[in-house]
């Protein structure tokens, strides 16, 4: 049922050139954006850009397993939530040191990914989608019931994480560049993983798991590691989100959020990694600007998504690489 295989071979020559040009363009724009603050109030642009990049990190992490492993996780927002709550809960107890908060966020995500992945990866297709949804919901309801940490109302974080006491996240510009660096790191890490032997096994398993198994690879193990890596990177996104918003709430891990992440990856074009960044940016920018224009913006956005599916194969990236 995978229409992605013929797409990959067709797009291969274009992808090779796009593989350097497009990410280059994306990161160039993102790096230069704060300078463009001449054109609009700086803090607003920085806040918007930071938010886009944070979700882009999560989207790239999701694309790793969706695009290259055909593992559609409908519970990925849970990892964002775990990372964010790590920051929030530690802050509520007075611990603001980054070197404690970040590893905690990553560890929580990895452990949850390993535990749930071990069970989920025994299923396939839509069953995998649903069981990841189930685990995501469980974390969501758990967070909602954490009365000492705000429960459904969420928790305000009095001050952002500090590195050895230095408030590195306090200045919006500094935060922006740190998140940009994190996004770049995530992107190139995932790129390296995909291109490595590990990545080839993963992609092979996406095409034909039985063949990979007969070749001697323990597909399950490879998928579990990929799933854990993807979860950890989302945990990183959650860590940054908590610092950027000074706030955490169970809404960060609702199933609607997980769905939005999938849409971001799909919109951009799965299986390219930079498509995920584009998808996250387009999705959030449209939501931001259309909603300023009319409160019924989804009446326009909905059909837009439908049209992208009907006329663009492979999301926005596919749309442009077929025209360009």
């Amino acid at each position: 049922m995978s229409a992605a295989a013929p797409l990959e071979t067709r797009a291969a020559p274009i992808a090779a050139r796009a593989g350097i040009a497009v990410p280059g363009l994306i990161f160039g724009i993102l790096a230069a954006l704060p300078a463009g603050a001449l054109l609009a109030p700086e803090n607003y642009l920085l806040a918007l850009g930071t938010r886009i990049m944070t979700f882009a990190i999560a989207a790239v992490a999701l694309d790793l397993i969706v695009g290259y492993g055909a593992l559609v996780s409908f519970g990925h927002a849970a990892f964002i939530g775990l990372g964010a709550y790590a920051v929030g809960i530690l802050a509520a107890h007075g611990i603001g040191e980054l070197l404690v908060a970040l590893p905690t966020a990553l560890a929580a995500s990895v452990l949850f990914a390993l535990a749930t992945g071990a069970v989920s990866l025994r299923t396939r297709g839509v069953y995998f989608i649903m069981i990841t949804l189930a685990f995501g919901q469980m974390i969501f309801f758990t967070a909602s019931s954490l009365a000492p940490y705000g429960g459904d109302d969420g928790l305000t974080i009095a001050s952002r994480n500090t590195l050895f006491g230095l408030p590195i996240f306090k200045d919006p510009r500094a935060l922006y560049y740190i998140v940009l660096a994190a996004l770049a790191g995530t992107f190139f890490l995932c790129r390296a993983v995909v291109g490595s032997r590990f990545g080839r096994v993963l992609r092979g398993a996406k095409e034909n798991a039985t063949r990979m198994a007969t070749l001697g690879f323990q597909v399950y193990r490879f998928q579990l590691v990929a799933y854990a890596l993807s979860g950890a990177l989302c945990g990183l996104a959650g860590f940054l989100l908590a610092n950027a918003n000074d706030f955490v709430s169970p809404a960060y891990m609702s199933w609607q959020r997980s769905g939005e992440l999938i849409i971001m990856v799909l919109l951009g074009g799965i299986g390219t990694l930079y498509g995920a960044i584009i998808g996250a940016a387009v999705y959030l920018l449209i939501a931001e600007f259309l909603s300023q224009w009319t409160e019924y913006w989804q009446v326009i956005f909905g059909p837009f998504l439908v049209l992208v599916v009907l006329f663009g194969r492979g999301g926005l990236v596919g749309l442009f690489s077929h025209h360009g």
């Binding site: 049922m1 995978s2 229409a3 992605a4 969706v66 559609v72 069970v119 025994r122 299923t123 396939r124 297709g125 839509v126 069953y127 649903m130 069981i131 949804l133 189930a134 685990f135 919901q137 469980m138 309801f141 758990t142 909602s144 019931s145 009365a147 429960g151 199933w255 609607q256 769905g259 999938i262 849409i263 799909l266 919109l267 799965i270 019924y296 913006w297 989804q298 009446v299 956005f301 909905g302 059909p303 837009f304 998504l305 439908v306 992208v308 599916v309 009907l310």
Partner: protein
């Protein structure tokens, strides 16, 4: 205590039957056309809204029901023609994105047309009474009607799918659509039939529940997730699975919500039990799904050929 339990079981059955009406269409569409239709929830919501409007125009519940079903069918067929027909050959992920777009459009569209305030539909005069079930609690006749109609639909579907020619085509289509097409059956028309019928079932559920629940934008989204849980536990493509799973979920959810706090109070103090209880109860159906999928990765009654 046992009479409380009995009433809660009835409540669970009512929820289960409602879920079945929605899940049946969803699993049919998924089974026959391999289409993930996230927009199924909006069919349920539209059924309710259309019933409210037609009731306002005609003053008769029966007329409103018939007209709402007809309008739901018309909308579903239009949607099938415009959007879904292009999706059959596409990837599951394409289905997800396209139907997600449909949800956004309809959820907001409904707000534009009917406004954001919750609407309501009165129970039909004849069936608006109550039956005394246990000391003081009158169980609304209408809820019994819902249970009854749901069971009737279940029986009807069983007969239709298992014992008619159309049903045979549907089952064949679920197993191997290209082959059925090669045998000369108009597969497009079959798909349209299945899709329309599934949408009507969801719309019917919406109309039936409207007198009890408020009709509001987004009411289809929460029930959609439950419906997916049902079809996954039941096994995709299996009506029988959807029926069993729907009743199971209905009972587990209702009984869980009723008794979770009491059960927890055996292990912890009343105050923590009161806050943890509802959270645990909400998780219960997902825990159930996780267990079922661990033991049976393809659901309880996977349709043959999957």
């Amino acid at each position: 205590m046992s009479s409380l339990l009995f009433v809660q079981i009835l409540n669970g059955l009512q929820l289960g039957v409602l879920l079945f009406l929605i899940a049946a269409g969803l699993t049919l569409v998924f089974g026959v056309m391999d289409l993930i239709n996230l927009a199924h929830g909006v069919q349920y919501m539209l059924g309710a809204y259309l019933a409210v409007t037609f009731y306002g125009l005609t003053g008769s519940f029966l007329a409103a029901l018939v007209l709402a079903l007809a309008a739901t069918l018309a909308f579903a067929l239009a949607l099938e023609l415009l959007v879904f027909r292009q999706l059959y050959a596409r990837d599951h992920l394409d289905h997800v994105m396209a139907t997600f777009g449909v949800i956004l459009f309809v959820d907001q569209g409904v707000k534009l047309v009917w406004g954001a305030a919750p609407l309501s539909l009165p129970v039909p005069e004849l069936l608006s009474g109550s039956v005394t079930l246990m000391g003081g609690l009158l169980y609304p006749v209408w809820r019994l009607v819902i249970i009854g109609s749901g069971l009737a639909v279940a029986v009807g579907l069983y007969v239709l799918v298992g014992h008619t020619r159309v049903g045979m085509l549907v089952r064949a289509g679920a197993t191997n659509a290209p082959l059925v097409s090669a045998l000369g059956v108009n597969i497009n028309r079959l798909f349209m039939l299945v899709f329309g019928f599934g949408a009507m079932l969801a719309g019917f559920a919406g109309v039936m529940i409207a007198p009890i629940l408020s009709v509001e934008p987004g009411m289809g989204d929460a029930i959609l997730i439950l419906a997916f849980v049902v079809i996954v536990i039941g096994g995709i493509g299996s009506i029988r699975g959807a029926f069993v799973a729907a009743l199971m979920i209905g009972l587990v959810d209702t009984l869980g919500r009723s008794f979770a706090v009491d059960v927890l109070r055996l292990f912890m103090g009343p105050s923590p039990a009161r806050t943890v209880g509802p959270a645990l109860a909400s998780m219960l159906i997902y825990v159930l799904m996780a267990i079922v999928l661990t033991l049976r990765p393809a659901g309880l009654f996977p349709a043959a050929g999957r």
